[in-house]
């Protein structure tokens, strides 16, 4: 008579150690490229040029087709990249932009900190010029124009 072995239940756990390893590496890789401060305007496309690598820290001025933001807070809505006709102005100075930049200038810990300008590549320079004029009136003298590094 053939002796039968008692069938022993085999607990075959799923070996996911390798998958965990892979997922953790992918997650760390993506976290390395994720910058919550850079993504404040999803419709903002920077121009691509060759430039000095690296961006200094400072107060950010974002100019997208939909609005102007200072330090991540929108201060002025734009109409397809154009300044609204009813925006309060004194000559070329845009009051709401001037006020926000003046507050940021007064609140800056470093008096020589530069203004980080991130403008959409489609922005007409006339619009950007008025915004920069307002920034100059608010006391900003140093500017850093952020671009996408073509070499990167």
């Amino acid at each position: 008579m053939i002796r039968r072995r008692n069938r022993v239940a085999v607990d075959s756990g799923l070996l996911i150690t390798s998958m965990m390893d892979m997922f953790t590496i992918i997650l760390l890789f993506l976290l390395n490229f994720f910058d919550p401060a850079a993504g404040s305007a999803t419709d903002l496309f920077l121009p691509a040029t060759s430039a000095q690598a690296g961006v200094e820290a400072g107060v950010t001025l974002d100019v997208s087709p939909t609005g102007v933001s200072v330090g991540g807070m929108q201060v002025l809505a734009l109409d397809a990249g154009r300044l609204p006709s009813d925006a309060a102005r004194q000559g070329r100075r845009i009051d709401v932009v001037y006020d926000a930049l003046a507050r940021a200038k007064n609140g800056a810990t470093d008096a020589d900190a530069p203004l980080i300008v991130r403008a959409d590549r489609r922005t007409a320079f006339g619009v950007l010029g008025d915004i920069l004029y307002s920034a100059g009136a608010a006391g900003w003298a140093r500017y850093r124009f952020v671009v996408v590094d073509e070499a990167g």
Partner: protein
């Protein structure tokens, strides 16, 4: 007294919740992340302003500084000992159609005449897209690894001119 035999306990970590979190995080990050490296063009000189009107002459007189007027038809270069030059853009004058290479050659000549000067005056017209201005920054800053004029002085308030 009878003691129970001590059985080894297999301590198995249940990583299912961790896997779930990671599986949700990865698509979210893939949607939010942009794989690009940022750089900057620096200027420590606040923008100057022109008086209203078309086609102003070279402002902020400093004979060592080349003046580049950016129009919707191309570049107009003068100053710094250079002959007045017009560099027309090709095609439909999209930002990539401007003659940045020609501008770089002219500015290299200006740099040879004034090697100690690092400033260039840029006068973009109001309807020129910022993309052109940014590319002009790059074209005037370096050429073939050689430093030209890395300190742009931006002049705002230019109307439309010839």
């Amino acid at each position: 007294m009878r003691r129970r035999p001590r059985m080894p306990v297999d301590f198995v970590v249940d990583v299912t919740p961790v896997m779930s979190v990671i599986v949700h995080l990865i698509p979210m990050l893939l949607l939010a992340v942009r794989f690009e490296r940022l750089a900057q063009h620096a200027t420590d000189t606040p923008p100057a302003e022109l008086s209203a009107g078309p086609a102003p002459a070279a402002p902020v007189g400093d004979d060592a500084r080349p003046v580049v007027r950016i129009t919707h038809q191309g570049f107009v270069v003068r100053g710094a000992g250079l002959p007045d030059s017009k560099l027309a853009c090709s095609g439909s004058c999209d930002p990539a159609d401007y003659d940045y290479d020609g501008l770089g050659r002219l500015l290299a000549d200006a740099k040879a005449l004034h090697p100690d000067n690092a400033a260039v005056v840029l006068i973009p017209e109001a309807d020129v897209p910022y993309d052109v201005v940014a590319r002009t920054f790059a074209a005037s800053a370096t050429r073939a690894g050689r430093t030209l004029f890395p300190e742009p002085l931006i002049v705002t308030g230019a109307g439309e001119g010839p």
